[in-house]
């Protein structure tokens, strides 16, 4: 029994290796952070709409009674470009409703961008100086927020939307929220 005492440091080391190694092997990406605003309402904003003469887009508008997505994008961001076709398909299928937040982008550049790729967004708020982005805790575009019917943030995906992200995470969550 006393001899086994010497195994204690080894066991400790193995425990540490397991504990620290597991997230790495499980493919956890430490760069991806959960939103600090989970289960909190979308920070209040009142921004001009991208479309001229369309008035303003406000945060209260996102509380539609049904879950919606808020996609933070910019024309200068390559993954944003890549995820537009997927969002368009899903919108056409009636699977999702997406609001856009044009983050630190020239409205003209955003318009050209959407003219080329097509527009999946119901409405787009123009966040020229990125302050609403900071209120949302945006640190890397594209980011996609799942907003529930009461306008609370339920999930944030950082980075490009892919089929698997949408089908395995966003849509099941939206179904669950919609009940």
């Amino acid at each position: 029994m006393r001899r086994l005492f010497f195994l204690l440091p080894l066991l400790g080391a193995l425990f540490l290796i397991g504990w620290l190694g597991y997230p790495i092997l499980a493919g956890h990406n430490p760069q991806v952070l959960p939103s600090a605003l989970l289960d909190k309402p979308v920070p209040a904003f009142d921004l001009p709409s991208l479309e001229e003469g369309d008035g303003s887009v406000t945060s209260t508008e996102l509380a539609t009674g049904a879950p919606v997505l808020l996609n933070v994008f910019a024309s200068w961001c390559a993954p944003c470009r890549a995820e537009i076709p997927l969002m368009r398909r899903l919108v056409d299928d009636g699977a999702i409703t997406v609001y856009g937040l044009a983050y630190k982008d020239e409205p003209k550049a955003t318009r050209d961008f959407l003219k080329t790729l097509g527009n999946p967004y119901k409405r787009i708020a123009v966040d020229r100086n990125g302050r609403v982005g900071i209120d949302l805790g945006v640190y890397g575009v594209p980011e996609t927020y799942v907003i529930d019917g009461q306008g609370r943030i339920r999930y944030r995906h950082v980075g490009e939307l892919t089929r698997s992200v949408v089908e395995e995470q966003l849509i099941p969550l939206m179904r669950e929220i919609a009940g």
Binding site: Q31, L33, A36, N129, G130, I134, G137, Y139, G140
Partner: protein, 164 residues
């Protein structure tokens, strides 16, 4: 020469980065006129993580978000916020990860107190180990009978040595 090339590159890189060491990302146009406020801004910025680069402070980072946050920190300072209010403002939006120095909360007890606890436990273990070893061994002198046996064994060994 080829063999030394990587070493040479390493030396150049190290000395190069050394020469450039105190370079900050803060742009002159971002700085505040009031030197007291500016120095507070610099102090705060050094403790705020740039979430784009994640191991740099916003004071060091050239990322655009870092620049935005530097400006934001200065705006709030000018507006009269205390240092803590500014940090809280950022934590509300980005979570505690935005602070380069993790706050002491339940989830960070292990981080803050773990090493100290390990040191105490290790020190105690070492002390116990040392104390046990130093304890004088209770030695009893050999009895006459044991003396005789030892002598016999030693003599026997000596004899064997002679034979071979």
């Amino acid at each position: 020469m080829r063999r030394f090339l990587p070493l040479l590159v390493l030396v150049i890189c190290l000395t190069g980065s050394g020469a450039l060491a105190p370079v900050f990302a803060v742009q002159p146009d971002e700085m505040l006129e009031d030197p007291a406020l500016e120095s507070r801004a610099r102090g705060l910025s050094a403790h705020i993580r740039c979430l784009v680069c994640q191991n740099q402070s916003i004071d060091d980072s050239n990322a655009e978000l870092a620049a935005d946050l530097r400006i934001l920190v200065r705006e709030r300072l000018v507006a009269g916020d205390s240092d803590q209010q500014i940090l809280d403002y950022l934590v509300d939006r980005y979570g505690p990860f935005v602070l380069l120095e993790p706050p002491t909360t339940e989830s960070t007890y292990l981080l803050w107190y773990g090493p100290g606890a390990l040191l105490v436990v290790g020190g105690l273990a070492l002390a116990v180990f040392a104390w046990r070893r130093r304890r004088p061994e209770v030695t009893q002198p050999l009895t006459a009978e044991e003396h005789a046996r030892v002598k016999a064994l030693l003599d026997g060994a000596a004899d064997e040595g002679k034979e071979t």
